[in-house]
Symmetry: C2
Subunit: 394 residues, 2 copies
């Protein structure tokens, strides 16, 4: 398959590109290096020493004798170049990671809120428009987020994979309809993914585009079999308050003998997936596309759920770290249940890496190994969700 990977230099995009290349696909990375540029502006860097994109690609070619090509292009801004690329490359599929993907960053300032909506909406819409203009039937595989569903909306019913059957009363009796799960985003970033969903539904209906949307949980883990082949292939590990996930924050705190900072009571349940499983899911999605004329295919891309407190306790047990409870900068419920359906990927053969098996490796091989590269001042989460919370945390 010939595959464009939009955002192929990022945390999910890079290991995905390698995995697909290894599997024999022809991969073209399309990126504007925005993730690295945001690091510059935030004055942070990946804990792991990531190589430049050209160093990465040269190392890959040297080790595997496989070529991945790279096009510097801003998908949200350079529409004409995107159309030209699709016409020239004639891809069979486009994996779309080209979005700003941090919830705290998306809530940081008016500028980052506006960038997140503008960039993410226009990246997705440009891709949809460009495929129609180029007359391409390429299958889009997009990275969505579990956060589109919100938490606790459907009571004790598990969160379905995208579509929800509901009943409504009509003068002619009860009617059953399958709807896109109602959107309940908790940040501007998650909001942007709910906007993507509606654009996908429209272009699938109006132009018969083939689209798969992957609602992913929190990704943990750094390395895959491919990124482990050489240190020049190492994946990024973000630990700063904006791009570091809750799990990475705990790992770093443990590595520097700081208590693990749990926001609120830690009763928030979240869904997780290892980066090795992410790249497998992407390939499973690529090889199982919807048909032209189908509505978008939606998978829940997660493998297990933990409360934040349970996660802290798991890491505390492995590292002897203490736990400290701090105010929550996010506007969210302090406690929620979360049961998620993920039958589709399991049925396709996914065999998950679990936190209880994999965390120790992450502590030893990443957090401790690179601990001397930490800027400790960057660990706390400082983006605050609204003015009420801002006032209460002053």
């Amino acid at each position: 398959m010939k595959i464009l990977v939009l955002g192929g230099d990022g945390f999910c995009g890079w290991p995905t590109s390698l995995y697909l290349s290894k599997a024999g696909h022809e991969v073209v990375i399309v990126d504007n290096l925005s993730r690295r540029q945001i690091d510059v502006l935030l004055e942070v860097h990946s804990l792991t020493p990531i190589a430049s994109i050209h160093q990465r690609l040269a190392a890959w070619e040297k080790i595997t004798n496989k070529t991945i090509s790279y096009v510097e292009l801003d998908v949200a801004q350079e529409y004409d170049k995107l159309v030209e690329l699709i016409k020239t490359a004639q891809p069979d599929a486009v994996v779309h990671f080209a979005e700003q993907r941090s919830a705290p960053y998306s809530m940081k300032t008016p500028k980052t809120k506006r960038y997140t909506i503008d960039n993410n909406v226009n990246a997705t819409h440009n891709l949809l428009c460009a495929l129609v203009e180029a007359g391409s039937d390429a299958h889009i595989v997009h990275l969505g987020s579990m956060g589109v569903y919100g938490y606790g909306w459907s009571g004790s019913a598990p969160i379905p994979e995208g579509y929800l059957p509901v009943k409504l009363d009509t003068p002619d009796g009860e009617l059953v309809r399958e709807i896109l799960h109602p959107a309940n985003p908790g940040s501007v970033y998650h909001l942007s993914k709910t906007l993507d969903q509606l654009m996908f539904a429209f272009y699938a209906k109006n132009d018969q585009l083939r689209i798969t949307d992957l609602h992913q949980g929190i990704v943990w883990g750094t390395q895959t079999d491919e990124t482990l082949l050489d240190e020049a292939l190492i994946n990024r590990f973000d630990y700063d308050g904006d791009y570091g996930t809750v799990l990475n924050r705990f790992l770093m705190e443990a590595a520097i003998n700081h208590p693990l900072t749990v926001h609120g009571s830690g009763g928030q349940t979240r869904a997780f997936i290892h980066i090795r499983d992410t790249v497998r899911c992407i390939e499973l999605a690529l090889t199982n596309p919807p048909k032209s004329g189908d509505k978008p295919k939606i998978f829940n891309q997660m493998t297990e759920t933990y409360t934040v407190k349970q996660l802290a306790e798991l890491i505390a047990k492995l590292t002897q770290a203490k736990i400290e409870y701090v105010p929550n900068p996010r506007k969210e419920d302090d406690k929620n249940d979360l049961v998620v359906e993920n039958q589709q990927f399991l049925a396709l053969g996914l065999q998950p890496t679990t936190l209880s098996e994999g965390l120790l490796d992450e502590i030893e091989q990443i957090a401790k190994k690179y601990a001397d590269r930490i800027d400790q001042t960057k660990i706390p989460a400082r983006s605050i969700w609204n003015k009420t919370l801002k006032a209460s945390q002053r």
Copy 2:
């Protein structure tokens, strides 16, 4: 009340601004004159001879001794100026018409599709962001569209005003939830209004903004009591294939003794409202805001429904025009029922102008009166919804 009217030079914005000024409100029009600029690019003009914005405002002041001020500003592009304006003006409310509002234009070319999403999403998001940044509690009244609901989704149940109660099965029994009516847009323009809805829901929840969204039907009629006061105050009448509504197309065809061109079988039922009622609804919405912390308040802003065929027959009866059936350039069902709830505005005292009462006036006072200004080549609808329809109409 001090009110900013974003898009206050447009077809709905202009009569709304006059109505609110007449009612004693302090009105500031904010516009980038994009609607006039699109006319230039499409090489069309309003059938009615509209004055420039400064001529309009001067005429209004001369006749009524009331001042409306005007700020040239692109809401989607000039965020910093918008924040500054909100901080300086301290409005009590912002009426938001600042969006590209033609469905056919939004489907015309990749450029117009992209402009519609980019402009409409960023205009709305900039406004939301700017109110938060400025610490303003101004009530947003936004013009949405009946098209967010799609047609025929809820069987024989009437379309509710925004929110729909549904039942879902859970392990603990049936759960009743009120959801935002599922989005079923029929064009990129309507899609943009469904994106607006999700942004409103998020900012109402996260930042307690007070927002009213008005899902309006097809507006007909040209003049209001205020625009009739002087010819320099006349409202625009669009008859071109992109901005002219189906009703205006029929009126123009009748005025030049051309058969009324019905797309498909004309079985599509649509909702209508007179421009006089639009401006009243806006004021009713302004004086009945939601409370801070409420979800967005949604009204269906329409007063009657007609099938396109019934509409053609009504105009044919008044004008002796013939009816001609032509292929439909839109991807839509050829026939649909439409029952709409609109109790909220009726309960607030709205007394609708009906098509059967008002159409003759529109024919005599607008279509025939200005018939010598028609460019007949501009009447047909030429924007085609997708490549399949394009091929079939070649």
